[in-house]
Structures are given as C-alpha cells and as structure tokens.
Symmetry: C3
Subunit: 258 residues, 3 copies
Amino acid sequence: MLRLNTVFPKGTTMLNAEIKSEILKDLVEIVETIVDEVKLNLSEEGISLKAVDPAHVAMVDLELNKDAFESYEANETELGINLSKIDQFLKLAGSGDIVSLEHIEDENRLVMEVDNITQKMPLLDTAGMTDPNVPQLDLPINLTLKGKHLLKGIKASQNISDHISITASPDGFEIISEEDEDMVRLALSEDELEELEAKEKVKSLFALDYFSNMIKCVGSDTPINMELGADYPVKMRFEFADGYGKVMYLLAPRIEST
Amino acid sequence: MLRLNTVFPKGTTMLNAEIKSEILKDLVEIVETIVDEVKLNLSEEGISLKAVDPAHVAMVDLELNKDAFESYEANETELGINLSKIDQFLKLAGSGDIVSLEHIEDENRLVMEVDNITQKMPLLDTAGMTDPNVPQLDLPINLTLKGKHLLKGIKASQNISDHISITASPDGFEIISEEDEDMVRLALSEDELEELEAKEKVKSLFALDYFSNMIKCVGSDTPINMELGADYPVKMRFEFADGYGKVMYLLAPRIEST
Amino acid sequence: MLRLNTVFPKGTTMLNAEIKSEILKDLVEIVETIVDEVKLNLSEEGISLKAVDPAHVAMVDLELNKDAFESYEANETELGINLSKIDQFLKLAGSGDIVSLEHIEDENRLVMEVDNITQKMPLLDTAGMTDPNVPQLDLPINLTLKGKHLLKGIKASQNISDHISITASPDGFEIISEEDEDMVRLALSEDELEELEAKEKVKSLFALDYFSNMIKCVGSDTPINMELGADYPVKMRFEFADGYGKVMYLLAPRIEST
C-alpha cells in the first residue's frame, strides 16, 4: 500500500501536504468558474495561481498560505492540474476528512489520498500555461458588503435579464437588472454596507452569468470587497480557509451599445 | 431607495399591502394550476379572483381577506397579474419574510419588495379578462376528508392510469384507478371521513392530472370539503392563510365512452 | 372494503402476510438490479428466489425467512411478480408502515395494502421462469469487509473507468480502476478487513456497472462476504432484514483480452 508520508530527499521538486477536504473543495470551486485546467505555483510559503477565462472576460488570482494546510512541504515548482478530476476525487471525502496530496516526480503524477482510497492523475504540461498579468487599476470606489446581499441581488437579477448594472456612489450601492418593463433592484444604503469609500457616482454593466459563477462559493456572512469605476472592470476580493486563502476576481464590463 | 409606505391621496386607485411570503406563495400555487395570468379583484375587504383553465375543464374561485395581510390598503380595482413572475420573486423571500406590494398607477406596474430587493412588473391589460360565471350546482353528496388521504389516493392512482373514478355513498368514499388488470383503490369508511352527508350512491370519472395539480398545495391535515354527483363536476373547497383564504375548485367530469 | 385478514380454507394455494415496508423495499431493490420480473417461491418457512440477468452475467439467490414478517401464512407455491409495480406501491408507504400482501387465487392477482390504499396487480405466468442452477464454486479466497469500504471503492472507480480489477492475497484486498494514466485504488490491509482467509494471490476483472448496482442497497456497516478466485466469478453475500434475509450475488469476470 502506498504510504504518503515518506521521507524525500531535500532539494528535489516535490509537494507533500495534508489539507481539510472542504478547503480544497473551495479552492477548486473558486477557480473552476474561470478555467478547467490551471497551473499551480508552489513555494515553501504555499500555493498560488492566476488564470483568465477562455473569453478573456474574467480573471482569478488566488493564494493559499501553507498555514491553511494540516501539514505542508513543497519546493518551488509548477503543477498543471485538471480541476474536474480533483473535484470528482473530493466527492469521496466526507466533511472533516483530511486529504493527502503528493507529487510523484518520476511518474509526473499527482497522488491524492483519503481514507483507504488513492487516486493518481497525470499532470498537465505547463509549458503553454503562462501566468496572466494582473492589470493595475486605480478605481475610485471601494466598498465592502456581506455575501448574502450580493447573492440575493444576483439571484433576483436572473429573473429578469442576462446582464446587470452596478451603481455605487457616496449614498450607497445598487444592482439593477432590466428588460422591457420588468425591473429588479438590490439597493444598499451607506448604513447597510460594511464599508464605503466613494467620492463620485459610477456605473458599469456586467454579464450576469460570469457574476453569478464568481460568487457561487461565497458564504452568506463573507465580507466581499469591491472596487468599481465608470464602465470599468470590477475587482472583487474575499477570503476563504479561515483567512489563509485570498481570492481576487477581475471582471471586464460590458459596454452598452448606443 | 424606494420606500413603499408612502402616504397616497385618498380615493385614487391603489394597493399598498404587506403579507407573509408563505401566504402569497400559497395563493400563487393554488391559482397557477389553473392559469398563468389572472385578474385580481381588489376591494377594501381583500383580494378575490375567478379563473377557468384554457381547456375549460377546471375553475378556481379564491378569496383572501384583508386580515390575512400584515397591513392592507386598497381601493376597488382590477390588476392583471403574471403569476410566474410573482413566483420567481417569492423565491427571493425566506420563510417568515414579509413582502410588500404596491400598485404604481402612473407606471401601470406592480412593485414588490422584500429585504433590500425591489421588483417591478408591468400589469396586464384586464380588458379581455372577464370573471367566469360560477355555475350553481346542487350536488347530492357533501363530505369532508383530510388532505393526507386525498394526497395518498391521488399519488397511488398515478401508478396505474390517467383517470380516476370517485364513488361516494352513505357507506363511505372511494377513489379507484384501473388499467387492464391493475387496480388501486383508496377507501375511506364513514368513520374515516370528517363529515359525510349522502342519501344515495354516486360515481364520476375525472382526469388525474387536473386532480393532482389542484391538491398540490393542500396540507396533510387540511380538511377538504367535496360535493359530488353522478357524472357531475366535483366541487372542492379548502382554506389557507389560517382561514383568511378560501379556495373553491370545480372540475368537470370525464364522461365514460360506452 | 377489502379486509385482508380473512380466514381461508387450509390447504389451498395462498399467501397472507404482513411486513415492514422497509424490508420489502430492500428485497425489491436487491432483486431489481438483476431482473424486472421474478418468480417468488413460497413455502411455509418463507420466500426465496433465484434469478439471472438477461445478459447472463449476474445471478441473485435470495431467502427471506418468515420471521422477517409481522405475520406470515403461505402454502408451497410460485408467484410471478413485476418488481417495478411493487416498487411504485411501496412509495406510498412511510417508514415504519406495515404492508399487507395477499394472493387472491381465483383472480390470479396479488393484493397489497397500506393504510387506506389497496393495490391489485396481475401475477405473471411462471411457466417459462425456471430457477437457474447456482454453480458450485470452490474459491480460494474468502474475506469479509464493511459495506462502506466497498461502496467508496466502487464510487471512486466510477471516476476513472468502466471496469475494475479486484485483487486479494494474504496481505489484503484491492480494487483498482485504471484508464490511461489515471488510476484509483481502494486498498484494505489484513487488519482493515473483518475476516481474511487466503493462501494465494488472485485477481479478476469485473464490469463496474454490475458491481455498483449489486451493492446499491448495502448499508455502510453491513459486513459483506466475498469469495474470489483468479479470473473467476465473485460470490458476494450479505444479510438484510435484521439477519432474516440472506442474499447471494454471483458476478462473472470480464476476461482481459491480450
């Protein structure tokens, strides 16, 4: 039987880690809304990744610190991963289960273990997988709202249209979805936001499907930070894994044809 | 932000009400089994509606008293409503949530609000929507049974055929569904009924799909009153909204070809 | 109204029994994975059946002792049964409900009753339904494992391929599913098995869909006995109905083409 916690020679490329299945599930769900295959960048400090969706509309930038793991040992390397295979494997894990991950370098496979189950998957060639550049944006509005408000606003919008407008101003925050004479609006006043820094009023349009995918794994009480401009991308940030994981999504606006 | 509880000039056509989302959900489900679009008749005393299904086989007659509402103000008027839009809106409400309803006359829209979500929907033209006449029927059998019995009898019938026969007599009540040599029967003796007034034995056939739709929102302990005749429509009555809502369904019989 | 517990003349062919709906559900599910129609052999001691699937790959041999019933009276006879009709009927029964079964000989129908619902189904002609011969196999490995391990191993294999290899040896038990470079393995050491009698190492391949169907109704803590050989059928045995029911499945191996 395979035993994962073998001693391995110092200095070789490797990963040998244990993590709660829930945290790995969150990571997979967060990234899967953008891409199916991704390059993980490993270092002694943890895991990070950057990816752009095939249509170049959305980007994810994620970091998971080694303190999110039950145990973690890694050298600097890159692993090309098929997320749906990890997702399937994680369906074998119950809540609270610890999953082991090991990179077997000479087989070029990732080995995952939970209970008495071992799954091996081939790694993808990372040669063509370059990290996208994260654009530096200086956006005039910075606000934080609770996950449940954003989730409800997006769910309501799906009744009406395939896109939304987001408006923010010193008075508050609004998501509006309109089609013919039907309209739905989430309105949060300054008091109903966790945080609001705004000197002007801005508005941008976004595709609803991207937005709803990006917030799928947000908890009802998770604070979500948004940076907004006028017809500019939205930058959305939230934490997972008890704060040891950090996600940043960037979503391009839809320009209203006039 | 829209605030619903504005003061409005006395005497103008309007609706301004608050209601538990569950009660509005029940109303929508009860009527949706008959029609998608309906004319609500508003008065100072509450809401009422009458509708016939497109095939003219089933009819619903519903009243919801103003005491079913948390607050209720309305003048005499008619509102043409798309029920599926209200249904979608109500999916945003949790159990126990209070929904606000307002008719904005100059926009000809209905405004619904729950939490921080506001939805506006255009009202339908009620010109072609006339209230059907409810036929006066003097049916020889009057009985009351518990919802759970009717629900189970109808569910069982779906295993066998697409129609049922209902028999009632001074001895009790029976639903039978037959096809070839397969048969299923719900039998309730006089003692197992809540109430039975019968001087003769009658039997009618009904389409099963109409029947099962009409009792979808019946609770397991809800008393259901039925009036029956021989090859005559069935009149079914039950209450919702703690008795402040009253429903009457009428379903035409299927005549057995001989 | 039909009353089942009538007195019937001694010596005539008949069945008159009451059983917990859960036990009848288990029986139906166990057999339905092999055949839709089956011949029940009744005797004073209980019910038994033997059946082979249409492709002649899997066989079931089941016994349910009369002590599994709340009440049981039967003479020696055969009943041809459509399992899906019983399955549908059982959906009307809640957990803990007692179901009555009666064979009405002159109608050639089986009558099932729960609460106020009676369902009658025609019996099938058993003339062409012969009991298959259960082959006598002397298999070198005999082991017992917990249901949850087998369930997880089979679920994991479904991520990878449509067949599995099962290996057993004095060291333990393994299920492996492989496709290209993807592999999943359930490994149980001798200590993790409930019981292991093995003098050699054997390996056989099996179709995954048959295997997963056969263990669908196995509980997480149910001990499952397996007998295995090298490229030989697997014999799987477990109990249900608090030990009053016994199942034996036999599944033919898939021979690896070389």
